[in-house]
């Protein structure tokens, strides 16, 4: 794979993991730290090969604990910084993520997730949904979580992750899995178009010509920690209000709506096409942001269709958020596999059942 060209849009055939690197580099990320774990090793390997020539730094740290804290230092310096890992490594990063959220530091964390808990297996899975969207670390914070379902999105959502993370001064996560990470397909590498170019006046660069500054998460005096927590809460509410993203797929006149993200959504698209050919009015709402969750869209959709079929590569995690968004719980069905991709045939079969037909 070639390094990044700054020429206008070009078509590139590459792996999802490498598209993340291309997106990061295009978005100005010059600092990557990480620790090897399957199935995301293409990312550190790409960064090790390309960042030095771009004047950046690659560092293989001694652990994920160190990785996230090295990131904390680079983020505090006002630079764009990224890491990538998979479930067990992301667990080790939770301490640092909580500190970064508390200290309001932006960074991009990629989770090319595998199946757990524990060492689990290296099969693709969406079992890290709760960890990603409900916190993971201590103290009650949110990550912005983006879920690409194609190589194109691996590229584009990485750029978006940097922008959103900077805009809200909070860590953002790309939640992928072994399939979107390893699959190869062509994508359009359009040039980076920054959403905002506000500087980082909070960065620590030495106090030349100004008062000293601190970046910290410890708030002992009076009720400073309460004030701080309300401030963070208000920020997460703004993110909720302004940043939810979802794709509507063949929802015109749909009576059965799949709700799925990432690889599960990708496979569902095939099943939905087949179902439509059979005359079943199926469609899909695909959350692109998992936090913020597309709450309004799910609420409206539940009223418009007969069934919401939630499909996940786990035993049921996002389905809890779908239930949270609508009182119409009897319209919600679930199909899950903890350690594998559901096949289009399996999904079609379930759609047929729900449509009252036999296969």
């Amino acid at each position: 794979m070639t390094g990044l060209s700054s020429s206008p849009s070009m078509r590139i055939l590459t792996k999802g993991n490498e598209a993340i690197c291309l997106g990061a580099v295009a978005a100005g990320c010059r600092h990557y730290y990480g620790y090897p774990i399957t199935p995301q090793n293409d990312i550190p390997e790409y960064m090790a090969a390309h960042l030095p020539a771009l004047g950046g730094t690659f560092l293989q740290a001694e652990s994920e604990v160190a990785t996230i804290n090295i990131m904390l230092g680079t983020a505090a310096s006002g630079k764009r910084v990224m890491t990538s890992s998979s479930g067990p490594g992301i667990s080790l990063m939770q301490e640092g993520l909580s500190y970064m959220a508390g200290s309001e530091l932006p960074a991009v964390i990629v989770n090319i997730s595998r199946s757990g808990p524990g060492l689990g297996g290296i099969a693709p899975s969406q079992g890290d949904y709760f960890q990603a969207v409900k916190g993971g670390g201590h103290g009650g914070y949110r990550l912005i979580v983006l879920a690409p379902h194609s190589v194109q999105e691996m590229y584009a959502l990485t750029m978006l992750a940097f922008d959103l993370s900077d805009k809200y001064r909070t860590p953002a996560m790309i939640l992928g899995d072994a399939i979107v990470g390893q699959m190869k397909e062509p994508f359009i590498a359009s040039p980076y178009d920054p959403a905002s170019t506000t500087g980082k006046p909070w960065a620590l660069t030495g106090c030349a010509g100004r008062e000293r500054k601190n970046l910290k998460s410890l708030h002992l005096k009076d009720n400073a920690i309460e004030v701080h927590n309300w401030k963070l809460h208000e920020k997460y509410e703004r993110i909720r209000r302004d940043e939810a993203r979802a794709e509507s797929y063949m929802l015109d006149g749909a009576t059965i709506a799949v709700v799925a993200f990432g690889t599960a959504a990708r496979v569902s698209k095939t099943a939905i096409q087949w179902a439509r050919k059979e005359g079943i009015a199926a469609g899909m709402l695909r959350p692109i942001t998992l936090f913020p969750f597309p709450e309004r869209e799910v609420f409206d959709l539940a009223r418009a269709v007969d069934v919401l079929l939630v499909i996940e590569m786990n035993t049921g995690q996002m389905v809890e958020d779908v239930r949270r968004c609508t009182p119409l719980h009897d319209r919600i069905a679930f199909l899950g596999k903890p350690c594998a991709m559901p096949t289009p045939e399996e999904i079609l079969e379930r759609i047929r059942q729900l449509a009252g037909r036999k296969g």
Partner: protein, 259 residues
Amino acid sequence: MRPPAKAGFSKAVYTRPRSLVDVRSHFCPGCHHGTIHKIVAECIDRYGLREKTIGVACVGCSVFLYDYIDVDVVESPHGRAPAVATGVKRAQPDKFVFTYQGDGDLAAIGTSEIIHAANRGENLSVIFVNNTTYGMTGGQMAPTTMLGQKTSTTPYGRDFRGDGYPIRMAELLAGLEGTAYSARVAVSTPAQIRKAKESVRKAFEMQIGGMGLSIVEFLSTCPTNWGMKPLDAQKRVLGEMSEYFPLGVFKERQQADFA
């Protein structure tokens, strides 16, 4: 307010370093953190580093570094200061970066981070405050707690059979290729304070010269958790503590290359 200098006594022999914030100390009576802060501030001033310094605060009584040293400071999770400092230095190699860590922080939860930062030869300076206990959490056993020393979690005294031996970090880190400078100092007498300052200067010079990681271990007091009067705490440092933790320079790189 200090009284105005009397005629004939106008030569200042003792002034507040520019990089030390003029606030009242919150540390316990007889605690050495204040003296160590002053030495660090003086050395920052000496090399004109104040405006290009980023300090990294740790967890423990040392975390309040940012209330006392007049430079940019980022706070790190418990033990991770060398990793955070690595991230700052990699992003801003032209800046002066130091960590300020207690013994629980550096020698227990953060052993991995300090060893690997040192082993990579990160161009950082580490101020390491060894008071043989966890001060902030109320005097529990630290990796540096002396054999026989009673702490709230070694109520019968530290026993090597179950609790292990006190770790000599300055010596341990001196054994790593990437360490440029490693020394142990104390601040219990004026002579020791002068020597300590020399060591911190040397450590800072190592970073300025791009030599690798430099660390100065301070033998320090925690009268509150030791259950001692400040003067007895000084005596403990001068006696028992410096016997097991000898003062001195354990490594001093002469040239920048690692050959």
